[in-house]
Amino acid sequence: MNSLIVLPILLPLLVGAACVVAWRYVAAQRILTLAGSIVYLAVSVVLLERVASEGIQAVQKGDWIAPFGITLVADMFSAAMVATTGVVTLVIVVYSLGSMDRPREAWGYYPLFNILIMGVSGAFLTGDIFNLFVWFEVLLISSFVLLALGGERAQLEGAIKYVTLNLVASAFFLAAVGILYAMAGSLNMADLSQRLGSAADPGLVTTLAVLFLVAFGIKGAIFPLFFWLPASYHTPPVAVSAIFGGLLTKVGVYALIRVFTLLFLNNVDYTHTIILWVGAITMVTGVLGAVAQYEFRRLLSFHIVSQIGYMVMGLGFFTPLAMAGTVFFIVHNIFVKTNLFLVSGVSHRIHGTYDLKKLGGLYRAHPWVGMLFLLSALSLAGVPPLSGFFGKLVLVKAGLGIEQFVVVAAALGVSLLTLFSMTKIWAEAFWKPLPEGTETHAPGAGMGPMLGGIVTLAVLAVVMGVAAGPLFVLAQQAGEQLTNPAPYIEAVLRVRGGS
């Protein structure tokens, strides 16, 4: 059992290191990475199954009892995130095989990618607040490099903003952890949950909560801290954009949810109200940003912000139903957002541009690409019976349940504008006749793997809709766990390592 929780972290590390050893042999790196991501997916699915059937799993790294050692915990939320990561990773690896350019492959793309996944998994699985910081740094530095790899001007300019603002967030995060330790004397999150619950000065806990909110808020790209995201996400190669846009931003949201469901519960009226309204404003500003864009990936990038607002809003509602909806929404969004970026890569492959004004005619020439795009785009906009609808449905229901009408109205308005901008992409890139002067390339080799990845995720958007019932049962489990920390704490603090 205990190896199961470690593997999602260890496996990418080993594969990544092996790829560095095989620095000159790109083919070997490809095979290693592909094999690694297949195993990762298998492990993550088994883990999810285990958590679903046996409840929260925890393992003490190094066999040091909690709260002294570092605990790895897989509750439903974590396990779902890891499984999602598994799927997306495999898809992106396959897609990369077809789309990544040779120089980047030869200069460390695969090792970096693996380490990125390692960091993401670590962040999802750790039960220790400082360890979370470390995994954040792991995924950040890998993302820095992936973002800048290639050194094109736009990449560098975007990367500077991305790096700077994320490092600021890290400095805040570290400070917050330091203060937390100083006052509460522990780093284990389950332990901290108990300690903060009985803290002598709840006001100080609230202050600390706000500091965490800012730190994770920057990393998660909420209003008004999101600037780095739209500035950078559209600059690297599309596979990188996809993993960033799909997966990476959600880690910040994950952390936000984790600490605000486990640690900072002593002044929910204040903290979660801020979160709620910030979520609402985030989704509105994000979607308005998207409306203003005429570049495929920029538009998608702004939508990331908007949908993060949705997730944060769910946290702000903070009911079991809302949390279940949030989890469902996050998983859905990872698949769908990743896929939209992947589709943008196909259109780029064909017409050499991401500019919607220069694109066109894709529907007539490549109807299947059009259909695949639609599945994801409509799902993103929350059109039934695709995955996005159900996330939206649950969140809206949760919001109505606690009569947050204004926020719900904003959420619904945002989903309309999302639909609006998705149809903009559709109308411009797919429906509109190809403008004069835009060149067309033969898609060439590599289109197979690219489409393979896209089909997988598009099918998942449908499957998540059709099978929303059973999947939502899992999400509900996650929602219950997130709104009632007792089982989490028990799983962490009671469990001794060993098997």
């Binding site: 260890l10 290191a17 050893v21 620095w23 003490q60 790294k61 190094g62």
Partner: protein, 141 residues
């Protein structure tokens, strides 16, 4: 434009500091030191050498590419934690053993392997950074 005095001194210092770094690495578990500090000292010594001579001369000391050192360091650190998993214990549970070589009782454990991994990684990283940058600058000399 290089200084004869500096060169001569740095040759001597390299040997001295290499030894010192290993000393720091090995005793780190019981006294201040350890993989980080040891690795940084060696890296500093090599950096000094690179400054006194040039990067190309410094690279002659490396058995392989710097990134390979990094990779082996990472692997060593990661693998040190895997042993316990074969015994059914959680990842990174310390395994200790006594080894008798030439009548000396060596107390060896996976944390030491881990520290060696750290040491190698630190050395590799500092070197790769220095090499990249120094060559970039030397290009223009």
């Amino acid at each position: 434009m290089n200084s004869l005095i500096l060169r001569t001194a740095s040759r001597f210092l390299l040997i001295l500091l290499f030894q010192f770094s290993i000393f720091l690495l090995l005793r780190g578990h019981n006294d201040p030191g350890g993989g980080f500090v040891g690795g940084l000292v060696l890296a500093a010594a090599l950096t000094l050498y690179a400054i006194a001579y040039d990067v190309r001369s410094m690279r002659r000391f490396l058995p392989c590419r710097a990134q390979t050192i990094i990779a082996w360091g990472l692997l060593a650190a990661a693998v040190s934690g895997v042993f316990s998993m074969f015994k059914g214990q959680p990842f990174m549970t310390g395994q200790w053993t006594h080894v008798y070589i030439f009548g000396v009782d060596l107390h060896l454990g996976t944390p030491l392997l881990f520290d060696i991994g750290v040491y190698l990684t630190v050395v590799g990283v500092v070197l790769i950074v220095i090499i990249s940058l120094a060559e970039e600058v030397e290009e223009d000399d």
